[in-house]
Amino acid sequence: MLNIKPIESNGIRLQAKDDTVTISGSVDISNANKNLLTFFEEVHKNIQAKHMRKVFVDVTELKFINSAGIKEIVTWIMKLNDMPEKERYTIVFQCNPEISWQELTITSLVWLNQKYIKSENI
């Protein structure tokens, strides 16, 4: 199970505990790259090391994410795509239906790997 030290900086909070990664706040140009890149690298390594088959990404409290932030999530997903089939794990994005932009943004991420990337409203 995941247990990564939370990161809180410039309006974003990143947390990975048990089987859930939580991204909340707003991801902007001033905080996107460094924080997200490092965080997702660690999450990916942890999932591999612990042989997890499924992880949830809770974005229900994510108010906004810019394209630089999306790039870092895509980088994580592409790492998953590069793994051997038997080692791959499922990422389930948990969205907030009341935050309307999430529907299209997360849908486009699902298209990067329809077998292993899922989304659900909670």
């Binding site: 309006g11 707003s26 902007d28 140009i29 001033s30 790259n33 906004f64 810019n66 394209s67 630089a68 999306i70 790039k71 895509v74 980088t75 592409m78 309307s100 932009w101 299209l104 943004t105 486009s108 991420l109 298209w111 990067l112």
Partner: protein
């Protein structure tokens, strides 16, 4: 000049220095104004997403200080979002190439292609902003490059009557 522009219904003009921290403030400000004129949450978010991504591009690729955001027709159609910044010719040529590709491609397919390519872009750049606007917000996007190296990128929203 002031009289001419303020005759338009719902006109807003902000010029600021290329300061990243101003982007979220401006986005939140525009969201509040959009909430006054657009009832639909999806439409508000489309405008706000466009403002945010165009401003980030304006700041990121500006050759000189100064980025200007201009919104026209908040209360009628088409609602126009323009961002002005100074840009070099090679950058502008790349922009026009992107706009040309987007015009003929399927919006989702083009966005997915740019998402995949973004992994290989250098730190601080994703090169997906315009494709994201095109897919998620769907305005008509155009650009104009003026003699003084001033670039205008414009997004026009043709929202239906129910706003």
């Amino acid at each position: 000049m002031l009289e001419q522009v303020t005759k338009q219904k719902g006109f807003l003009d902000i010029t600021f220095s290329p300061f990243w921290e101003f982007v979220p403030f401006t986005r939140n400000y525009i969201y509040k104004i959009a909430s006054r004129y657009l009832q639909c949450d999806k439409k508000k978010n489309k405008v706000v997403l466009t403002v945010s991504e165009l401003l980030e591009n304006g700041i990121k690729y500006s050759e000189k200080p100064g980025v200007r955001l201009c919104i026209k027709n908040f209360s009628c159609t088409p609602l126009e979002v323009s961002v002005f910044n100074y840009a070099c010719k090679p950058r502008v040529e790349k922009l026009f190439q992107t706009l040309s590709e987007m015009a003929t491609a399927n919006a989702l397919e083009y966005y997915i292609k740019k998402l995949k390519e973004s992994v290989n872009t250098k730190a601080g750049q994703a090169n997906i902003g315009l494709a994201r606007i095109n897919f998620e917000a769907g305005p008509k996007i155009s650009a104009q490059y003026m003699d003084n190296d001033l670039l205008e990128v414009k997004a026009m929203f043709y929202f239906e009557e129910e706003r």
